[in-house]
Each structure stands twice: as C-alpha cells, then as structure tokens.
Amino acid sequence: MSTERAAHDFPIGLGGAPRSYVMRRTGATVLAASAILLVLTVFLFPYYWMVTSAFKAAGDVTAYPPIWLFEPTLENFRELFEDLGGLEALRNSLIVVGVSTCLALIIGSMAAYALARYDIKGKETIALEILLVRMLPPIVSVIPLFLLAKKFGLFDTYTILIAIYTLMGLPFVVWVMRVFTQEIPRSIEEAALIDGCTRLQVLFRITLPLMLPGLAATVVIVFMFAWNEYLFATMLTSSHAKTLPVVAAVTVKPRAISWGVSSAAGVLMSVPVIVLALLAQRYLVRGLTFGVIKD
C-alpha cells in the first residue's frame, strides 16, 4: 500500500518530487556506485596483476617499486607451452573436464528429474546418500583410488579422471537440478500432455527449456570444480593425462617460483572459465532470479 502511494506521489522522472527527496536519491546512487567500485577493485585487481605479470619479462615481475608500464612479451607463454607441456595439459583438461561435466549433467539431471517427479520409495534417503558422497574429503579416497587405478591399468588415463570428476559433480547436479525441477509446476507438464504431447515431446519442448537456467548455472559450477581440481589430477597422472592445474603447480618450486610462467598458467586456466561464464550469463541471471519471475 505504502509503495503504491509513493509511486503515485512521485511519478517517474521525479518531476514533481520535493528537492530533499531528489537529493536523497542521488546521494544513495553515488554511495551505491562507490561501494560497487570498491568491491570490484578488490576482486579484479589481483586478476589484473596476474594478467600483466604473464606478459612481463622475468625481471619486471618482481621489480620494486612495481612497473606499471612495460613492454609485453610472450616469453612466459613460450616457456609454459614448450618446456612445460602446457598445450597438451590444456587439451587434456578440456577433454577430461568437458566429458565429465557433460556426463555429470546428463546423468545428474535425469536422476534429479526422477527424484523430483516420481514416487520412488525412500527417495529422500537416496537424495541424502548422494549428497553424502560429496561430503567425503577427497584425501580419504585418493590412496584407495590410486591403488585401484594401478591395479586396473587406469593410472594416467583420461578414463580415471573422467570417472572421478563425473562422480564429484553428480551430487551437486542432482541437488541443484532437483530443486529447479521441483520449481517447475507439474501442471505445466500435464498441460502439455493434455495438449497432445508425448512424454518425450514434453521433456524436449517444455521441461528442458524451463530447466535451462538451472542447467547453465550448474554447468559453470561443475566445470569449475573439475577444472581447478588438483589433488586427484596430480596423484593419478604422471605424463600422458596430466591436466593444467598439475602443470601450473610445477611452476611453483620449493626454491624458486617463476612468477611470470605461473601467471601465464593462471591466465590460461582462467580463460575457458570466463568464456563459459559469459556464454551462460544470460541464463545465469535468469537462474538466480528464477523464483522471482516464475508464475
């Protein structure tokens, strides 16, 4: 009621609003903008520093006082790609993480749909058990997995990493997508059935498009989990299936840290995640506001 009245008294454009009200509004806007700027600086400055360091020559990176203007060089990337096998690691990472994210998404969404929609005996327990897998600290399972991988000839293969990353992503996908599915009113699917759809048509024409915001949000997070995973990658690979985090870690040696190469690895690792987040952005925003705009 009070908001209605306020809207009525002060029409858009604030033409008829009193001066004090306009000043208050402007003050609030300036304050909010400053706060946003501050937060952005805190988050973005380290990233800026990393990107510039990646293009600095070895001496410039650690120079004090810091050098703000410098001649960019690709030396760090050359070292990363040629000496440390960064390109192969990038390929490995893309394959392992890409496949495992897709698998987790497909299997997880199906499980989530079933848990949300069908009357399954003890489905709450099932859902909880799925979540419990996620609660297990990775360090607990890494040794047994190492032994198993050795025994079955899976050590240093894509298969073992894909399997582990899929399993790691699954609980997250199941829980998030279950909630998203529950948010879709059942009557929408039933309306489609009545309107003449087969069950499969309902899935592809109605349910999946409605799940997209959820799927987009989930894919970014699951991808990031697997993309940044280090422990399993370092323990279960040696050369063939080595992923980017392992290579990035090599740049940090006990006695010397090659800051430039390390930064180059950081840039390389962050690019796919940023691209993915930008691609999914449209859906991410919808995903975050899902409860607000839904009927």
Binding site: P185, S187, I188, E190, A191, A192, L193, I194, D195, G196, C197, T198, Q201, I206, P209, L210, I293, K294, D295
Partner: protein, 375 residues
C-alpha cells in the same frame, strides 16, 4: 460427447482417493464435481483426462473405452487451477501450442489463435509472456489454449479459485456463456458450492471418494440425499437439531417447538424400530421466519448477533439453549430482542444420525448414475 465412468477407483499407496464411482455425463452437459478438499473430485477429473490411471474401473468418452489411453489420444482440453501456461513461450505461442503439436499449418494456426483471442478479449496480450499477465488474464489465456483446438471434452480443475472474489463472479458467468455457446461437454471441479450452483446443469456431490448425490442444483439444494449434502450445500449451512424417535412412537426434539411442526404423519413413514432412533432435524436458515407476533406452533428465541450483509441479514439465535442461524432481508431486530420463529412443515428435513441418510427425501435422486439430465 458424453462421458461414462464405471466403478472407477483410485488408490495412492494405502490411501483410497476414489472408492468406486459410476456416472454418466450426457453430451453437451455442464457437469460439476463438487466436494470438500480431499474428496477425490480432482483425482476423478484427472482419470477422465488421462493424467491418472485408475486402479479399477473404466472410463468411456463418447462410447470409446479410453481407460488406458494417453491424454493426447482422448482429444480433451483441460484448464488448470494454476493455469499451467508455458512460461518460456509468448501468449500467442501458448495458445497455438496444441495446434502446433497436431501439425496444423502456420497460417491456419495464426487464424485460429486470432479468432479465439478475440472471443476471449485477449488480442492485445498475444505478444506478452505469461509472467507479465494478471491472474484473470492468465486464466483467459489458459481458456483460449483449451478452446483453440475444438476439444470433444472440456475439463476444468478449480479454474477460478486463484482469482479474487469479484473477478471470480465475472469469469464464472463468462465461462458458462462460452461453454453453452460452443455446446462442449464440460466437467468442472470445484469446492465452492455457490460456483457449482451457479454454473452446473447437474452437480455430483462427492465425499470421501464416493459420489454422494447427483442432480440439478435445485434438486440437490431442496432434497439433499444425506446430512453431508444438506450441510455442504448452502451458505450459511443448514441448521441441524438433535431429535430422538422413541420405540413407542413419541418424539423428542430440542428446541421443543419443532415437535409441534413435524407432523406425526410424516414420522409414521419412517419404519418403526425397537430401539430409539437418533435423528437430525434440518432447517435451512432462510426457512426460519422471524415474526413479532406468535402463532400456536411458533417458537421463541433470543437474538444473539446480527450481521447485516446488505442484501441479506444473518441473525444468530438462541432458542432453549439451542443455537441456530436465520437469514432474512433487512430487519429491525437487534441483539437481545426476543423473537417468534415460524417454520413451515414442508421446509423441515429429517435425517438419520447414524447413517446420515435423508429419511424423507421426497424426490431426491437415489441412484446417481441413472439420474436424468435436466437442464
């Protein structure tokens, strides 16, 4: 297209939602399934539409056994309580969706969407998304989507219950006019007895998974088959007074003056039994007439509360410690007044307390499935 249900039952685990319903709905009829929440009316509707598979029994639409057919094989349209619109499609796409699935051509689709939108006065909304519509507009879109494909049967699941009171009355008459213009058989579920009375050509009252009574609105109102129907239909509900019919034929009722109204002749129709029989005497609030003068058979009561609602006035009364409610037009009676009550003999219902059965139903429908269609 008529609908026939034969011994329809539905169990969810251990819960029996529908416990055996047989019913014939004639072609072109506006049939309302009425009952309190949890009585199985929506489940029955969903079984007709194919959204639930019956545990037992059969469903026939236009003489064809559709019990195990998918919804899309039944050519029924349904309007849902929460509208069931597709949020990711424009209003135009929502309405055209059933036609698109049928494979109707684009030009024909667009022509029919325009036509039905005009009929429902939503032509201006076609480019919006469901999220941008008000409740009433959403309901119109959902009706349009149901109408656009010329269904053989119309199913409506409490379509008005999410709308505000004023809009509900407008939409109520609009739906009734629309459906009667098109002559499509309609099954309509509601828990609102006023809505049912206003819209139905026949009502089926359901309780605890069973069809309690089927009849025209006035048949059900005037001749309720049992205590449940008597109390469920009518607002405020029927007054129920405790009475005992003793083995020797004598009759006790409270308040006592009712004993002078119920003629001994009517009681004689009830088969005497050895044990005393507990009864209810039911009187509709509008059949309790308040007078200032007194007749021989009249009772007295004290006015406890007066609710002037404008059109009607609800008067809460106390007679010999028994509470009752009367409905009159405007009145000058005030709290604390002593009034005389007049009740006509023909307005009294006698109901068995143990079984709920109406002992003098006059011409109440006793067999739901064979009740003739009167419109």
């Amino acid at each position: 297209m008529g609908v026939r249900l034969e011994g329809l039952k539905k169990r969810f685990g251990r819960v029996a939602a529908v416990r055996g319903i047989s019913l014939t709905i004639e072609d072109g009829e506006f049939f309302v399934l009425l009952g309190p929440s949890g009585c199985g009316k929506t489940t029955t509707l969903r079984m007709i539409g194919g959204l639930e598979v019956p545990s037992e029994g059969r469903v026939f639409i236009d003489g064809r056994d559709v019990t195990y057919l998918e919804p899309r094989q039944r050519n029924v349209a349904m309007v849902f309580q929460d509208y069931g619109l597709y949020p990711h499609m424009l209003v135009r796409e929502n309405i055209a969706f059933p036609l698109k699935i049928q494979g109707t051509g684009k030009a024909e689709r667009s022509r029919r969407v325009e036509e039905v939108a005009q009929r429902l006065h939503i032509s201006g909304l076609l480019k919006r998304r469901p999220g941008q519509l008000s409740g009433g507009e959403k309901q119109r879109v959902s009706l349009a989507r149901a109408l656009v494909r010329n269904p053989s049967l119309f199913l409506m699941d409490e379509p008005l219950s999410n709308l505000d009171a004023k809009l509900r009355i407008t939409m109520r008459s609009e739906i009734k006019r629309l459906v009667s213009e098109l002559g499509i058989t309609t099954v309509y579920v509601t828990h609102d007895q006023i809505e049912a009375m206003a819209m139905a050509s026949r009502i089926g009252v359901m309780d605890e998974g069973l069809m309690t009574q089927v009849g025209t609105p006035l048949e059900i109102y005037d001749h309720p088959a049992n205590a449940f129907v008597a109390q469920f239909i009518g607002a405020p509900p029927m007054n129920m007074f405790n009475a005992t019919l003793k083995a020797d034929g004598s009759f006790e009722v409270s308040p006592r003056f009712l004993g002078r109204i119920v003629a001994p002749g009517r009681l004689a129709k009830i088969r005497p039994s050895d044990a005393p029989r507990e009864l209810w005497i039911g009187v509709r609030p509008e059949n309790i007439h308040l007078e200032s003068g007194g007749g021989r058979r009249n009772g007295t009561a004290l006015v406890e509360l007066v609710e002037p609602l404008g059109q009607d006035t609800y008067i809460y009364l106390d007679s010999d410690g028994v509470k009752m409610i009367a409905v009159t037009k405007r009145t000058s009676f005030a709290v604390g007044d002593s009034v005389r009550l007049r009740i006509e003999e023909g307005d009294v219902h006698l109901l068995d307390k143990a079984t709920g059965e109406n002992l003098l139903p006059d011409r109440a429908a006793s067999n739901p499935s064979s009740c003739p269609h009167t419109s």
